[in-house]
Amino acid sequence: MALLARGELRSILQTQLPNVLDSRWDTQATDQVEAHGEGQTVLLDFDAVVKAEAIVEVAHFVRDTFGYDFLSNITAVDYLKQGLIELVYQFYNAAEGGPDLRVRVRIGRSPEECIVPSLTPTWPGADLQEREAYDMYGVVFPGHPNLARIYMWDEFKGFPMRKDFPKTGDKYTHVTGE
């Protein structure tokens, strides 16, 4: 039930759960951040980037072996330039306290790729956060009890928080019976 240092999880996963890590980001071991010009986001790797379908397995592994049983936060981030949507899961160790453990999942932005298995069966607290990610970013969570829009009305088309959602020209005000 020890606390993990920053970035230590990746090496543990490589040894204990081999095919869990997302190969696309295996090479870039560093989590250094080079200074960039304006408008240049960077993909960070610390703590671990795992395959979408392995997230449930990693979550259970993290909880059972290291005691990170408190899933505090699920954030969806839309990296438009890299064509990715990243889901950041932050786990805390309720017994030991201390900083969080960030497990990342990176999926494509098109409807077919944008699927991540839901954690709600074991962490019911993730229910509303996954519904918010679905409503705002269009990430589909198979296994979620009632995946429906949480803020927008159900007939709303589009995902408002995506970077390519038009900020101007409100197509809802002058909709003419289309």
């Binding site: 936060n73 954030t75 900083p99 607290g125 949480i150």
Partner: protein, 370 residues
């Protein structure tokens, strides 16, 4: 057996005791509740999109509108996130001032939150108005120091807008003389009153494992027996220099959360005393002068900082792309995630209890709908 038909009732969005526009679709068999579906979105202002459009400083007054009971705590959490993101260090005195404001905010939040819950129970707002009186005194001091009672906009990156002066400290000391009388009156009024015990004990039970699984935080989690308090688990802003206790419940029902909140007010009182003693003098400065507030640029990367707000863990997750405003700005709102446990807590109880259980979770819709 007499065939009873289930009745579906809408509690909210416009209902006297839903603490804002929040709707619960309740299916009831007779008086006992069978299923509860929360419905959100009535107060959704897309706060997170605003965060991406505004520059970092422009976004600070909008964080007042999240949990409008504790704008000081929201500012503190947001300022801490951007400070970790941009690597700004905060002078000692400013950290002490922020701790004093957070603890004052915790006292006024618990005083009014329990007042509202007791109002839902039917105690006709006596406890609420005593709580409001203490809140008024604290809000006057917030107004003196930040300029506004509820929308304080007090923190800046690397410190606070204005230093606290002698008037504030003498008034705070006078307030500290009055608070224990208020705590005793409040406990004497209702703590052992038989009807409150009948209405609060074993109602809305959330066992320990379920509390962790629902990732609830704050008094709701501590009421269920898990002593997880961010000020102790991951101390921030000089909290590691104060000696205070973490109150914890046993059964995890409405009564335990009620007791935990009262005990937390007393702990905040202790923290305020110690903070006042150890407050460094003004030479340390109340803000880091090297920070250019309006045109603050953070290097590309991400940061998550969290604060123990009176309602639970309030965190801001900000991804920056090197420019002056956030690329992704997410608020981890405690009321929003505590609500996910509401359905499970209410099953099997009656409508009268649903309202009390919702009151015991203490939500604010500004934070839930963002």
């Amino acid at each position: 057996m007499l065939k009873t038909e289930e009745l579906q009732i809408n509690i909210g969005p416009q209902h006297p005791s839903t603490h804002g526009v929040f709707r619960m679709l309740v299916t009831v068999d007779g008086e006992t509740l069978v299923d509860l579906k929360p419905v959100f979105g009535y107060l959704h202002r897309n706060h997170e999109q605003l965060g991406e459009v505004n520059t970092y400083l422009q976004n600070m007054p909008f964080t007042d509108r999240l949990d409008y009971f504790n704008s000081m705590v929201n500012n503190h959490a947001y300022a801490r996130t951007i400070e970790t993101l941009a690597g700004v260090e905060v002078p000692e005195r400013a950290q002490y001032i922020r701790v004093i404001m957070d603890e004052l905010s915790r006292i006024l939040n618990h005083a009014t939150a329990m007042g509202f819950m007791l109002g839902d129970m039917g105690a006709w707002q006596t406890a609420l108005l005593w709580g409001m009186r203490e809140r008024e005194k604290i809000l006057d001091m917030f107004e003196y120091v930040s300029g506004a009672r509820m929308m304080c906009n007090y923190c800046r990156f690397g410190g606070v807008v204005r230093d606290i002066d002698d008037w504030f400290i003498t008034e705070l000391k006078k307030l500290m003389q009055g608070l224990p009388h208020y705590f005793d009156d409040f406990e004497g009024l209702l703590l052992n009153s038989e009807i409150l015990l009948a209405r609060a004990r074993n109602i809305g039970v959330l066992p320990k494992e379920l509390a962790l699984a629902y990732s609830v935080t704050g008094p709701v989690l501590r009421g269920s027996g898990v002593a997880y308090d961010i000020r102790k688990a991951e101390p921030y802003a000089v909290y590691d220099r104060f000696k205070f206790k973490v109150p914890v419940g046993t059964v995890g029902d409405v009564y335990d959360r009620f007791l935990v909140r009262i005990a937390e007010m007393r702990e905040s009182y202790k923290i305020l005393e110690q903070a006042l003693e150890q407050l460094p003098d003004a030479t340390g400065g109340f803000i880091n002068p090297k920070v250019k507030q309006q045109s603050l640029k953070a290097p590309a990367g991400e940061a998550y900082a969290r604060v123990e707000s009176p309602k639970g863990e309030l965190g801001f997750y900000v991804v920056s792309d090197g420019s002056g405003s956030a690329y992704r700005y997410k608020v981890r709102a405690p009321s929003f995630i505590n609500l996910s446990a509401l359905a499970d807590m209410c099953k099997g109880y009656t409508i009268a209890d649903v309202v009390v259980i919702l009151g015991s979770i203490d939500i604010v819709m500004g934070e839930v709908d963002r």
